[in-house]
């Protein structure tokens, strides 16, 4: 797996800008501030990140999507089950505590938040790379963190020891709820997109 340090740095900056936009969309969707606590982009060791996730014993709800276009990749929004219920109340503009147990509306809320975040990322990347990037319909999973994460990286872990992963952690203001957003860009299309981005930037600066 190869990606230059320079490209990694460009990607890190683009992801941070994209996540600012995604965070605003997230907050507007739930009419509640979703604050970014962490954004990092790095080549990570699959066994280490898997162990970290396996040590998180919380039951989670996650929405997994693919991004398709000039840059391909996978995205996942993941939140603890109790947080998903709170998110459902925010989204449906219900009194806090209305949602009591996981049902189709909880699933739909996580699905829609995943869709909104993926769309915001797609919109930012599309603006940066000058091409169209579209999310696919989401797949929603309810399981332990390690199991869900295993499904996200299943294909990549077949052939690689490391994956390029961007991880964002949000905290919902005035709550104890934290939630996560992961992006796994496809390296081949990423390199092509970053090359084009670099060339376009060089041309602009002439």
């Amino acid at each position: 797996m190869q990606i230059s340090k320079e490209h990694l740095k460009i990607l890190d900056i683009i992801v941070k800008i994209s996540m600012d936009s995604a965070s605003r969309s997230f907050s507007k969707t739930i009419k509640h501030a979703a604050l970014i606590e962490l954004v990092k982009t790095d080549l990570v060791d699959i066994s280490e990140i898997t162990e970290e996730m396996n040590n998180d014993f919380r039951e989670m709800v996650a929405s997994i999507l693919r991004l398709e276009g000039s840059l391909n990749g996978k995205l996942m929004f993941m939140i603890p089950l109790d947080g998903a219920l709170m998110l459902q109340d925010f989204y449906l503009q219900d009194e806090p505590g209305t949602a009591k147990e996981f049902d189709e509306f909880t699933e739909g809320t996580v699905q829609e938040i995943g869709n909104i975040l993926a769309s915001a990322i797609g919109n930012s990347f599309a603006a940066g790379f000058g091409s169209m990037l579209l999310p696919t319909p989401p797949q929603v999973l309810c399981d332990f963190a390690g199991s869900i994460f295993g499904q996200l990286i299943f294909e990549e872990s077949m052939d690689n020891d490391k994956i390029l992963l961007t991880e964002t952690k949000f905290k919902l203001r005035n709550t104890e709820i934290d939630c996560y957003f992961f992006l796994l860009p496809d390296l081949n299309t990423l390199e092509e997109s970053l090359d084009k981005y670099e060339k376009a930037s060089d041309t602009d600066s002439l």
């Binding site: 969309s25 989204y91 509306f105 699905q111 869709n115 919109n123 579209l134």
Partner: protein
């Protein structure tokens, strides 16, 4: 009352749109969960206006809009999507959409857009 068909694969989004439209003079006559369902429900219910998601399984919102317009060239369809990209907007307009709202939306924006489209503005 203006009769509305809501098309979105997420039940929670359909529920939210219903809540918002009930604040205006709209009657929800039906819901569809994908593009194929949207055309069938449109033919059956003949709504005054349709709210249409884009990213859906089976047939997406762009295909469903083309299919509905082929059946009824005067159909009024408002796209509701998180995708804010020029090319997608252009595809929606070419398919026959009357308007396009980017999610997340303000409640007033949906109400005013649907009124404008129904009134031919």
């Amino acid at each position: 009352m203006n009769r509305v068909l809501i098309v979105d694969d997420a039940s929670v989004v359909r529920l939210l749109i219903k809540k918002v439209l009930k604040q205006g003079d709209f009657e929800i006559v039906g819901e569809a969960v994908n593009g194929v369902d949207a055309l069938a429900k449109y033919k059956e219910l003949k709504p005054d206006i349709v709210t249409m998601d884009i990213t859906m399984p089976e047939a997406d919102g762009i295909q469903a809009t083309k299919d509905i317009i082929a059946f009824d060239p005067n159909a009024k369809i408002v796209m509701l999507s998180g995708i804010d990209q020029k090319e997608m907007l252009w595809q929606a307009i070419k398919a026959g959409a009357s308007s396009y709202i980017v999610k997340p939306f303000e409640n007033d924006r949906i109400l005013s857009t649907l009124h404008d489209v129904i009134n031919g503005k």
